[in-house]
Symmetry: C2
Subunit: 337 residues, 2 copies
DNA sequence: ACTCTTCGCGGAAACGTTTCGACGTATCGA
DNA sequence: TCGATACGTCGAAACGTTTCCGCGAAGAGT
């Protein structure tokens, strides 16, 4: 039932090898023969058997992407990565195979050792990620979205979360704020040592202390109760708080909501700056100033690097995207008191 | 470099076919031989070449999943489907290949005609979905999450959105509400004829009219401005509105926020019932009564059906999950006026 | 007119599995 | 004791591609 290469060859009156060469372009083929072959391919609806093909070529045109452990499906940021990679892959004729990080290291080895994929993209990198040694031992290329402690030779792309955090502090400090707090990712993100959460927090705290300000921060669950609790805690740490750095895209709407409940006007009584994908900040009320998380760019870049490695061209081992501030209405100078 | 089956055979002192039979269990093998072979497999770290394998078996143990058109990565519901399918697949040794619906019908044909996948799961089904005829013509099984108009022989699983909508109406009506409005999915979801949006709305509206109530509804963008506008519009349609059915999980927090801004207490001044994944309703303030969207169950079920079809066992062509109401604090009797 | 290159193509051997058929050797029933 | 069965294993032929090698014909150079 499935149409094979020989069927095409027969119909076009040529040998199988000729059809193959038409397909791959690895040899000059006369215009006339090419026309006949392509016509036959179209009429028969021939598609080369991917498995059979992969056994002679050394590639499958499939890459694997390892999803984060937590399958809550909540975090939209990670989905944006997936979509970005998916689109980039599609554009180059690659398919995307999804793995979950839960089955850990085993599945990564499985899919590459069974020659199912040409390479792997891993996200949600922890600072001391157990997958890193595995990836290094792989005989297929891998690229990380995120930066582990011992990156060394593993090519990775990342956003400069430390600089992003520092940039938020700088912005608020320049506006005149002297009491700045940070509402950060949920606690479990820190306990599993997610690089982005740690580096963003440390970037904020370090910049705060360097400027002689009190380093105030708290993790928060992305729901109203969690946010309310976190904000209360922040005020407990520093009652004079006049500015908030929010790196927790899911909690952001609840933060604004809660501040309103507390009677704190934004930005009058409380300035807010977020680190999050831009589209999640700009449609809130008020529109929130943010340091945009370049998820699409990172995903695209990761795939580009991977495909580079697959085709054997050298790639920069480390790429750090610089933060950029979008000024909106949620941050302003503190009210004189 | 990659270790092949013959390497294992050599090491174990048996023929390649014996190794293959150990792997597949298709023939009795003596305990001793099996032990030696398995030992060799483990020591050499042998993994059968998936491509080579797929050319003789007729299967790949990979299924494709077609993502919705809109790649905004916002809608968490769809991600829950993906995760559910992903987990179910993993549990049965299947891998998941991701396709986007954007490249439309072509890519579906590509991956199945090139024998990359054993079957396809398609979500975000429109009532008159152009992919349906394609799936029907496929020589591999497909299952839909959602119900097209002409389902006929295509096996599909779905949630009874009409019943869910009716159930919301019934609940609020029973509580004593006589002015009930619906805040529905964004307008473009309707324009692209997404089955779930249409059926939920129609379920609500039909039940309202059957009970002699005014059918009030509005689509809403899932951001504060969109929600504010929608709520205003609803009050314009029926100033006496005392209850709201929200089928728009992303807008739900903004709805509660907006009602608070308007000085309407929930549930005192306004009862709210949502149709959404349960975890997105229960952590809000107040916790929202909902008709839970069984995303995980649907995803799991879809994969189960697909694997059934692949292995050749008959499957129920249509499965409709019944709605179930979770009573929480967001809905109560209307205040006497 | 004759070699030399180039061009266009076909034949056949891979690639790494699975599986069909066949071949001993025990085991069993009679 | 003898055929028939069952068991355990092997050899070889597939599966659908790609690619190496080579061959004839056409064109170029002398």
């Amino acid at each position: 039932m499935p149409v094979r290469l020989v069927d095409v060859a027969r119909r076009a009156g040529v040998s199988p090898s000729t059809v193959s060469y038409v397909l791959s372009g690895n040899r000059p083929i006369s215009a006339e023969t090419r026309r006949r072959v392509e016509e036959s391919i179209a009429e028969l609806g021939f598609r080369p058997h991917a498995g059979a093909r992969s056994i002679r070529r050394q590639s499958t045109n499939v890459v694997a992407m390892v999803l984060p452990m937590l399958a809550d499906g909540q975090s939209s940021v990670q989905m944006q990565f997936v979509f970005a990679v998916l689109h980039a892959a599609r554009a180059q004729g690659f398919n995307l195979l999804l793995l979950t990080a839960e089955d850990g290291v085993a599945e990564i080895n499985n899919v590459v050792n069974s020659a199912m994929v040409d390479g792997v993209i891993v996200m949600e990198i922890q600072v001391n990620d157990p997958r890193v040694p595995v990836l290094r031992a792989l005989d297929r290329p891998a690229v990380l979205i995120g930066t582990p402690d011992d990156a060394e030779d593993l090519v990775h792309v990342d956003f400069d979360f430390a600089a992003a955090g520092a940039m938020c502090v700088q912005h608020l400090h320049d506006l005149g704020h002297r009491h700045i707090g940070m509402l950060a990712q949920p606690a479990d993100t820190f306990t599993r040592q997610a690089g982005f959460a740690l580096r963003a927090r440390d970037g904020v705290l370090q910049e705060l202390t360097e400027r002689g300000l009190k380093p105030t921060w708290i993790p928060a669950q992305p729901n109203p109760a969690g946010v309310a609790e976190a904000i209360e805690e922040l005020f407990g740490q520093d009652p004079e708080l006049s500015a908030l750095i929010v790196y927790n895209e899911l909690a952001l709407p609840f933060v604004l909501d809660r501040l309103r409940q507390l009677g704190r006007r934004v930005p009058g009584d409380m300035s807010v700056v977020a680190i999050c994908p831009d589209d999640q900040a700009q449609h809130l009320v008020p529109a929130v100033s943010d340091v945009a998380l370049p998820t699409t760019e990172l995903g695209r870049l990761a795939f580009e690097r991977l495909v580079g490695l697959i085709t054997g061209t050298d790639q920069p081992v480390s790429t750090l995207l610089e933060p950029h501030l979008n000024r909106r209405g949620s941050a302003g100078p503190p009210l004189r008191r």
